[in-house]
């Protein structure tokens, strides 16, 4: 089977962690199925990235490079991916589920007449057939699928596959000429300042702040300034990533809760389901729809005043029945 690993380079011209995992997923099929691997890369420069994975066993390296492919933009990226896929003539195309690749994957599949499945968490060979695993209904159920159609384009989620272990070297890249069709110009990236960053996908731990932080405390008063200080203190001390419940984010949007929270922090049924090794939930409450927010957290602990909280019971490894204000204050002190 011809398999195309299709990925963009990052700003430095190399392949990021998500791409290395996607290549690991593509290579992994070779254990059970004879595959012929082609690497397709696009970006401002691709040689360094190709050299980075020169020893991955690919029979061919294809590339689309140039200043017009430096930015993540639908028109240029889709044209590059389309050209690479057509040149490779692959039956299976594996892409990482980065924001850049996800923006174009489905559109490229439509151009190729390919079937598409996104955000796979598993990709294996069973009985000589490729079987993909993905989640449905916002991570509430998981399914295994097969497809007859070829080509089949898939994106694979981060944190689900072992990154490829490929020796670096010097790869011979066949560069394709592509004329992108687009009227879009990327004018900038708005990132939070390093000391104000609260979403860190690479962090070891996710701190989930629940609505309890914005509610009246034992003295009948809200302690929003104190809550902000404690949460930011724990983020600073641990360099963890911050997630939040929809209710707290909504309160914050109305100016009634924590000023640094946005909808980008929202986890759960209507938010994201980030992947981290550890998760600490604080002042969270709710049942299954909310709990999906930490579906992909391996080790989970919760601080909550309610011992029967559905967020924690049966979902967390440890539930501390305590006041999160007091506990987090002390934890920050210990971690300083």
């Amino acid at each position: 089977m011809n398999v195309l690993f299709l990925a963009h380079t990052d700003e430095g011209g190399s392949l990021g962690a998500a791409a290395m995992e996607a290549l690991g997923a593509a290579k992994g099929l070779g254990g059970s199925l004879p595959i012929e691997l082609t690497v397709g890369l696009y970006g401002a420069e691709v040689q360094a990235a190709a050299d980075q994975i020169a020893g991955c066993g690919a029979v061919k390296f294809l590339g689309v490079a140039g200043a017009e492919f430096a930015s993540a933009r639908y028109g240029s990226d889709a044209s590059a991916c389309e050209a690479l896929a057509k040149a490779a003539g692959a039956e299976l195309i594996v892409m990482p589920a980065t924001s850049r690749a996800s923006r174009v994957a489905a559109g490229v599949a439509m151009r190729l007449g390919a079937a598409v499945d996104t955000r796979l968490t598993g990709l294996v060979v069973e009985g000589g057939k490729i079987v993909a695993t993905r989640w449905f209904y916002r991570q509430r159920m998981v399914g295994k699928i097969e497809r007859d159609a070829r080509p089949w384009l898939v994106t694979v989620d981060t944190g689900c596959f072992a990154p490829v272990a490929a020796a670096p070297g010097t790869a011979s890249v066949e560069l394709l000429r592509v004329a992108p069709v687009t009227r879009t110009v990327v004018t900038g990236i708005n990132s939070p300042a390093a000391d104000a960053q609260t979403i860190r996908p690479e962090a070891k731990m996710l701190l989930v702040a629940g609505a309890g932080w914005g509610k009246s405390q034992a003295d009948g008063q809200k302690h929003l300034d104190e809550a902000s200080s404690l949460i930011l203190g724990l983020l600073h001390a641990t360099q963890c990533s911050l997630g939040s419940s929809k209710s707290l984010v909504d309160q914050s949007g109305e100016g009634a809760a924590l000023p640094f929270l946005t909808h980008m922090h929202q986890v759960g049924q209507t938010g994201s389901t980030p992947r981290h090794q550890k998760g600490l939930s604080t002042c969270c409450h709710g049942e299954e729809p909310h709990v999906v927010g930490w579906r992909f957290i391996n080790e989970r602990r919760a601080i909550n005043l309610d011992a029967s909280c559905g967020w924690a019971q049966g979902k967390a490894d440890v539930l501390y029945v305590a006041d999160a204000f007091a506990v987090v204050d002390k934890v920050v002190e210990l971690l300083r």
Binding site: R73, Y74, S99, S102, R103, V104, A105, A106, G107, A109, M110, A115, V116, T118, E126, W135, Y137, R138, M141, V142, G143, I145, E146, R147, D148, V181, R183, T184, V185, V186, T187, I189, N190, Q197, T198, I199, P201, M205, T238, G253, H263, M264, Q269, T270, E287, P289, E299, R301, I303, Q313, K315, D317, L319, Y320, V321, A326, V327, K330, L334, L335
Partner: protein, 267 residues
């Protein structure tokens, strides 16, 4: 730019508060008691619809909602959605299942968009959610865009500003809580919305009555859109059994708990 035509793709999903259980149906996996489950407009499609209405109000544009779903359920959901913002609806009567094929869904929707009377692609903004609470592929909008020949597409959008000449700027979510800012010279364009910046509009009975005058005939004229799912086979779908043995720590002092958590974080 005046006279924008904003087409929003969106359908219904089971109310997130419901318990969902997969079963094997005659055509593949389905949800247990799917037709009995209360439904809502998909949250991301909702954001797209409310942003579309807000933009249309500013530029004297028109909003169309193109929805593929069981029309009886769509009618129920529209009774409340119609009270939020003004729009016209185009209905395709078919499954809104999360197990349907995204490409097949896209082809049906693209066909419906093409048939909107007076559609001018030079004034077209195609809106939808960048995700959904059903299949969640983030693929349908992009494929519909391709089928309509739209090569300027954006995903994870939280903001758009349209200029008088039809050019616009857009903010897209990318990794790490950052935004990518882009400008585009003109329409058509496809935008997959994240949450946007607008709260859910309050119910307005007058808007609801005006909408329902168009929604009811549209539901009666719903075009059947059976999705066959050919070539797609499910080996199985299950709710993962992830019940953990939760150790409950009660009556411990704050110091003890904090020390245990700090040790765990450091480990």
């Amino acid at each position: 730019m005046k006279g924008l035509q904003i087409v929003v793709l969106g359908s219904i999903v089971p109310d997130p508060l419901q318990t969902l259980e997969p079963i094997v149906g005659p055509t593949g996996p389905a949800l247990k008691n799917e037709m009995m489950l209360p439904a809502v407009l998909d949250p991301w499609a909702g954001h797209a619809l409310f942003e579309a209405a807000s933009l249309a109000k500013r530029v004297e544009g028109k909003v169309y909602l193109v929805a593929l779903g069981p029309k009886a359920k769509l009618q129920q959901v529209m009774m409340s959605v119609a009270q939020k913002v003004p729009f016209e609806i185009v209905v395709l009567d078919g499954p809104a299942s999360g197990f349907a094929d995204a490409a097949e869904t896209a082809r049906a929707l693209a066909g419906a968009v093409e048939k909107i009377p007076g559609l001018d692609k030079g004034k077209l903004l195609l809106f939808g959610g960048w995700q959904s609470a059903s299949r969640g592929t983030g693929a349908v909008l992009s494929m519909v865009g391709e089928l309509l020949g739209i090569t300027d597409q954006f995903q994870g959008v939280d903001e758009i500003n349209v200029a008088e000449d039809g050019s616009f700027t857009v903010l897209e979510r990318i990794e790490g809580g950052s935004y990518q800012q882009s400008s585009c010279q003109g329409l058509p364009a496809a935008l997959g919305w994240a949450t946007g910046n607008l709260p859910e509009p309050p119910n307005n009975p007058q808007v609801g009555m005006a909408n329902m005058r168009l929604i009811m005939p549209a539901l009666q004229k719903a075009v059947p859109a059976p999705l066959k799912g050919e070539g797609l086979r499910y080996q199985g779908v299950e709710v993962p059994s992830q019940r953990r043995e939760t150790r409950i720590v009660k009556n411990a002092s704050v110091d003890e708990i904090a020390r245990e958590i700090a040790d765990w974080i450091r480990a």
